[in-house]
Point group: C2
Chain length 210, copies 2
């Protein structure tokens, strides 16, 4: 298999940290999104959706959603489980990762992509031309702030996002919190549990290398 | 464990079909969303997020995202796998289910909730008050139409959404196609593969009972 990636961007970064925390090595090729290489014909021949990351299996199957790439890696390399062990743990990791995507990552994307030239006609990720809607910028920021409070409450009673163990949910949350700086948001000082957790996660060897 | 649900609504319906296709029985209590019972204090004491469905485990843990509830049931009842068997199958089911949520279910919700009195101040699911943005109605419909074409292309080369086997991805896609009628969308006749698949899925005993 081969991974096409660009770790500075948020979605590839989730896979990058997942691989480092697993302690595995994957044949990797960088696609420079700063030079829009993901939109070039050469890359579209590999992943027609023109999204990064993409995991290409030996039979040619392309997996291009972060959660699906991590599922593939988890099943293939079950040591150091990051998607949970028991049914309960697996469900909680899935629950929190999904909420983070729907309620936080998508809110950041909403605030980021609905103004400025860089995302003109590209208000959502993907191939479809969609016009920017300026009202989505403050709405996105309101949603981010609200979800930071949800995370703080969760972390007031749990060491990690999904409970007692570091998991993929922590990876997504960590990337989301950092990504929110792209729209000039940061975790307020009074959210002490979220700040405590963020400082701890940032020290992990698998996370620090970026 | 106990499932709180309301099968006529799209999200609970995905769990309902999943359980029927698994051939398992779960202790179930109905929450009448037509009477807004999910917003009553009695239900909020069970699931503070006031969303339906919710699976309450014997230790009191609440799982409230559809994909996480189905993950819990898949691990607990591994017979008749609906989330895939091999690493490749599991990744493809996850990939398509996730795309269906992000690119189709959320587009339908966007078209549905951004006009009319019923969703005033509730333009997104969840606890947050958000004003309607009328421009999201045509945007949602454009996204639905585009994703129907994606599904048609996928089904031109595959019997089921994620390949050779019926899976959770088919359940989500089937519910999404039906749910699109709520915003007066339907699959165009010329998308013959998507229509072929929909007619086949509708005949399944686990799906037909609604």
């Amino acid at each position: 298999m081969k991974l096409y990636t660009f770790p500075p961007a948020p979605s590839p970064q989730r896979v990058h940290i997942f691989i480092q925390e697993k302690g595995i090595e994957i044949d990797t090729e960088f696609v420079d999104m700063m030079k829009a290489e993901q939109l070039a014909a050469e890359y579209k021949a590999i992943n027609p959706r023109a999204t990064v990351p993409a995991l290409v299996l030996d039979d040619g199957t392309v997996i291009a959603e972060v959660v699906a790439i991590c599922r593939y890696l988890e099943v293939t390399y079950p040591d150091t489980p990051l998607l949970g062990s028991s049914a309960r743990e697996q469900a909680l990791v899935c629950e929190w990762d999904h909420r983070l995507e729907m309620e936080c990552m998508s809110a950041i994307a909403e605030a980021l992509r609905n103004k400025g030239e860089a995302f003109k006609h590209r208000a959502l990720p993907g191939a479809l031309d969609l016009e920017q809607i300026p009202e989505l910028v403050p709405r996105g920021k309101k949603r981010i702030a609200a979800f930071f409070e949800v995370l703080d409450t969760q972390l007031s009673a749990n060491q990690y996002i999904a409970g007692d163990h570091f998991s993929f949910a922590d990876i997504t949350a960590f990337v989301a919190v950092n990504f929110s700086a792209w729209v000039k948001m940061k975790v307020p000082e009074e959210l002490v549990h979220l700040n405590r957790w963020h400082a701890e996660i940032a020290k992990r060897p698998g996370v620090a290398i970026q």
